[in-house]
Symmetry: D2
Subunit: 355 residues, 4 copies
């Protein structure tokens, strides 16, 4: 079957470039348009490359950047759009694409809380895709928007999902150690962060609470129903390039043993694994036994096969004592918590026949 023609919005930014990198040789999608703002229009992708952990693929570097114009994309036959736009500009652009009949998979926050738009994490809530039917009714031409979640809640929700299902946990405290790439580019000034920790990230704690309830909730009778799980977060930025580490505390009257938790997490498999989606990690949650793991530098890229690198969540140091379960959780903020999340969303939508 022919690949679907795809476009990337925000190609001059870090998330857009992760999309570009992850979609090289993708079996379902072929990127035919790399869009960015007028300032980058006409430049080659190599001229605005921002990722430093991967060398830009030679063919990719030669791609020319074009302006962001839904009509032009429509004329190019684009059916799928990956949006790495900043949240403050994403809304209208993504709407325009959806109104032109495209399936938009967005990393931006703009549409996340809309009542007919899913925050999709395929291992957690694939049934939320049903909301697209509702959304399509208000849009012309059959287009729609699917969002991924905030980068710090995505990994946490993945680790919580099997525990919430197995033990009914509802009270979660989390302190984050978030990477600098989460702030985009230029992002955090070096003078602020060197030898320092910044104990505040704008709107992040609120997003973790609100999006967490939607992601872990259900979709029933044409609407989203919030999960009873409440996430109380304290979010800080640390001197790390990629990978959000999180110290998780779960309070519950009755708790299982650490071993049992470890087994529950390790055994977790879900729809993307069953469907063998190309970017789905064989094991969505990997439990590390070493006493000083996970570490951002060592474990952010966890995940097999090759196409799923950075898509697995790692968890370590599981402790269960009296009424408190504690562990450290790590996920790659611009892959699983960013571009990779939306690629997996698109793969699920494709397999479900929605594109």
């Amino acid at each position: 079957m022919a690949k679907k023609k795809a476009a990337i919005l925000g190609s001059s930014g870090m998330i857009g470039q992760r999309f570009a990198q992850m979609l090289i040789g993708h079996p379902y999608f072929e990127v035919v348009a790399y869009c960015a703002s007028d300032r980058s229009d006409g430049k080659k992708l190599s001229e605005v490359w921002k990722l430093s952990d991967v060398e830009i693929d030679a063919r990719l570097g030669e791609k020319a950047i074009q302006g962001t114009d839904a009509s032009a994309l429509a004329r190019q036959g684009v059916e799928v759009v990956f949006s790495g736009l900043p949240s403050d500009v994403a809304g209208p652009v993504e709407d325009a694409c959806a109104e032109s009949g495209m399936a938009v998979f967005s990393n931006a926050a703009s549409h996340r809380m809309e009542p007919d738009t899913p925050i999709l994490v395929p291992e957690i809530n694939p049934e939320h895709l049903a909301s697209i039917e509702v959304q399509r009714k208000r849009r012309r031409n059959g287009g729609f928007v699917v969002t991924n979640a905030n980068c710090s809640v995505t990994g946490l929700a993945l680790g919580l999902k099997p525990l919430v299902d197995a033990y009914g946990f509802t009270e979660v405290d989390v302190a984050t150690y978030q990477a600098l790439s989460g702030a985009g580019y230029p992002g955090v000034p070096s003078l602020d962060i060197i030898g320092n920790v910044l104990p505040h990230i704008k709107d992040e704690e609120e997003k973790m609470a609100i999006e967490g309830k939607k992601i872990l909730g259900t979709y029933a009778s044409g609407g989203f129903v919030d999960s009873p799980v409440t996430i109380y977060a304290s979010c800080a930025r640390v001197n790390v390039m990629d990978g959000h580490l999180e110290a998780v505390f779960i309070r519950s009257k009755s708790i299982p043993t650490a071993e049992e938790i470890s087994r529950t997490l390790s055994g977790f498999r879900a729809k993307p694994q069953k469907l063998k989606l190309p970017s789905a990690p064989e094991r969505p949650v990997i439990v590390l036994k070493e006493r000083n793991r996970p570490q951002p530098k060592l474990d952010s890229m966890a995940g097999t096969p090759e196409r799923a690198r950075g898509m697995a969540v790692t968890i370590g140091r599981i402790r269960a004592e009296k009424d408190c379960v504690r562990f450290y959780l790590l996920s790659h903020n611009t892959i699983r918590g960013g571009a990779g999340g939306s690629v997996l969303n698109a793969e699920l939508a494709y397999k479900e026949g929605l594109i």
Copy 2:
């Protein structure tokens, strides 16, 4: 009144040098002996200086280091000993000094959990000094050992004390962002920590739980009684020089407002403040109103007057929601959580007539 002659053990290390720096011109104590292991014997203090945030005082730099020998110290007329020795060697040396009649104020963990030895934090448990009477009975010559607490629990306990007293909180979760100086020198290899977080510090979480119960507990009928407060900690090392930041979560059925908590913390004064001990900060807990504070680089040295710099705990971002109180807390790990803590302990003992 003549100053008491004092010695510093571990003068070639970071804590010993903080002692040296903090005791320059001290009104109660005069350091007459800077001790270290044989390797440093005979060197000048300037030759082994490790603190980089302060230039070594010119007179201090000229001081000669001597070997560590309790008998020699006794002959020099030393009455007070400040111990910055590593915990694995501190025990016997500190005992020898105490047996020689000296008052030992120790930063080491060796004696902390003994039933007649206080973990003293003067703002929290000055009444624990009564245990010295018991301890003196088993030691010759009237000497004794007083310890300070682990660097990550000291600041936390200071912030908890007024809240526990006012609201009866008992369930505390904390995730730490600990500074590199806490690991001593050479400590953490640069290859391990650059661009990384290390989510494990040996024995630290256990110490926070156990020492927390003793510090916040009472002393009654000749023995220590544990506090009902339980601290569940997840401890991580971050790329920061000085200053342990902590994300604190307190769960309680009924909680006050954030404003009330802020007032309770800001209004906290205790015995060291009443006695106007030289190293006591005017305000032991300082609440910062800015939304991105406290920060290790900006706030670790909080505390007035000059002699109390680094002795105040700063707290910010207080949030109270449903059954959870959250805030960030910061304290200087080698001053309030290290040498400064023991200096304040000695000042209290001095004022109480125990030296």
Copy 3:
């Protein structure tokens, strides 16, 4: 004698705030106006404070920021202006102040290469102040502008001055390890510099060559005469907060011994030392004997007395072999190479009766 009323331009930036800090309690000058752009107008200095190595002085923090308006300053009786403005806006504003009769001491590059404006480094070229007489003729009301040099050439020129005078050196190669504060705020993005070195700083190498020739040159017959010294620089940014380190190579047919060079550098004293200017370091160049110094973290603040902290250049690892002299040189880029340089300039002008 009454202190001269002074204003600071650029008070919301790092250099402006160094001025503010260095002028507290100054014996010659009293700051009566803290100016910044309209965005900061009306805010307190504490609200826009950017320096993290010093806590803001309590009285200073309360000072209100006013807009930048030469006429208003004239009405306030301001006679001396310290400019920490960015070079791209400094020119017209400084001119307006000079035309209103004020003595402007500027850290900006705007006026440095004018034929009647000195790049003053009081230890090197105090006679360049004579150019002010020429400058005054074209300005109304007796005002004038005196500039300091680029932050990376100031320290180098100080170290070169006694050597050039003693040995006639003319060929200098230098590779710099420059601090992040030199790029101002927000400056270098953290994603660019963490675990990295940036081997380019815009226009810096050219400035070092051109300004070096002017600074080390003479003033004769009403004009500046370039020095024969040529500085070939390669400038890089490293992950350091404050303090520009430089690896210096001097090629010469005949070279003295390392010991002789060390004596020449250590013995250097000049006009500011003779006049005992308040911010003049007792020793402008300090030679360190330790084999791994100078280090930015340990030595950037070198200089006595207190008011001259950060004003001394440190040099170490002097080697002389065949036809090459090598050493490492360090100076504080925002003190000696920034605000402190201009304060010293103003002190010299004051003592010389020019203000």
Copy 4:
């Protein structure tokens, strides 16, 4: 032809592990023994893994470490030894292997200056391999030792070789910005290097001078003849993980244009390229045109094909003015300047029929 059986010495260290990684699937050599000190004996390679920029290959991780014993290696049929031992222990162990008839390719300094042992850089001095014939005469069983050069001189010599050949340059000044991995593990304490530069690396400047003369020199009449090139180095450690950056200054009475230098460097090809050795980069020296390159984080891994990643030297910012040529040069210190260098040496010796 069957692959040669190989052993790695120092498998618990960073260089040993680079060897392990680079020799996976190598066409000439098959590693049959991973040796380390007794402390690691019996552990799996994954238990002592130290490289953080690459995930350990799954099969590699399972390999068991054995003690370091030349006789045992001989019994295992080992013909080729790659030594990543520290220089202070390498000498006797490498000798024992050579005396047992093995070809030893060493990263250690122990044998570098021996009169019959080459410091081989295949692009520069392949004819130095002739010294092996002399060396074999004094050793039993036909074994020999070939060394690679110090990590900071290897890359520099590669960049100098085509220029020295083309223009007869002899006077080279260089200031280094060296990565932390060059100090091994645990190496530099984090407290020393964070926010700092260390302007001294033990013996490094001397090695660069002495080894430079031998590498760039000739082999004639059974002996090494020093090159007239003199390298004056000032070596500093910066806060970078991998990749030594160097600011190079070449003084010469007559110099070519920057464009000509660029062409000479870009056009450089040598014996490894002609022989198509598996780890030889297609282009040993890559000239980057961007004005802020090379950067350690972006360019250390330069080199194609895949097996030659990290084997190419990158050079940027070439400037030629009057009598001075300046540029920045970067090479990967543990690949081209470490394990990769010795692998390439072994490949050359293999192709030349010496193994």
